[in-house]
């Protein structure tokens, strides 16, 4: 169960290898990688820039992981979130889970990224030659997060 916030890129392969090693009960590993999409929707954008709130962000992520492990029987969890300047196709975030069975690994992974999007203090801005613009929370992210409050969802998987 570990959280890392860093400017550097992460090596997906070694993260996943480390995550599943050391416990031979692991039957399922699910990973999510969020990537910077190209800027074809607005070609003046040259990069994005991510900030966080040192101290609080780590706490918020650990709290999200704790809630996930309370809901589902997860063997291991890894969250890495990058900050600073990122270009198109760069990796932004990794959420990976292992469990005995896939239902738990899937649910835990999706829950963590859905909560991260709305409850972990990160801010993203798009940078153009002229300046930059902070992004708003996406409505669809709020809806996805709220979906987990639903009682049938709480108990499934």
């Amino acid at each position: 169960m570990s959280v890392l916030i860093q400017e550097d890129d992460f090596d997906l392969a070694s993260e996943l290898t480390a995550l599943r090693s050391g416990n031979s009960k692991v039957g399922a590993m699910v990973s999510f990688v969020g990537l910077v999409r190209d800027f074809s929707h607005n070609e003046t954008i040259e990069s994005i820039y991510l900030e966080y709130y040192p101290g609080m962000t780590e706490k918020a992520l650990n709290k999200i992981i704790a809630e996930a492990t309370e809901r589902w029987s997860l063997i291991n969890v890894r969250v890495i979130h990058r900050i600073g300047q990122l270009l198109a196709s760069d990796q932004i975030v990794l959420v990976a889970t292992t469990a005995l069975h896939r239902g738990e690994a899937f649910a835990g992974c999706e829950f963590i990224i859905d909560y991260l999007k709305t409850a972990a203090p990160f801010w993203k801005k798009e940078q153009t030659k002229e300046g930059s613009q902070w992004l708003e929370t996406r409505d669809t992210d709020v809806k996805r997060m709220e979906h987990w409050h639903n009682d049938t969802v709480r108990k499934s998987a």
Binding site: K59, V93, A120, W134, E136, T137, D141
Partner: protein, 73 residues
Amino acid sequence: REHLKITRETADVPTEASTLAGLLAWLRLRGDIWAQELADSRVRCAINQEFAGLPAAINEHDEIAIFSPISGG
């Protein structure tokens, strides 16, 4: 954030600003841009690095954070 050009400030707040709602109201008195950016509906707050609602009480030496909408991941 960029609009206010301040990322951190240590301030003596009046006693009537003893909740987050009170603090926001007091900060909005600083003028136009503050009033606009710090509308209750736009911001989220944290006290000592934990999310907190507008009625939450503020105590001496608390670390208060006022966020624009978050957008990570």
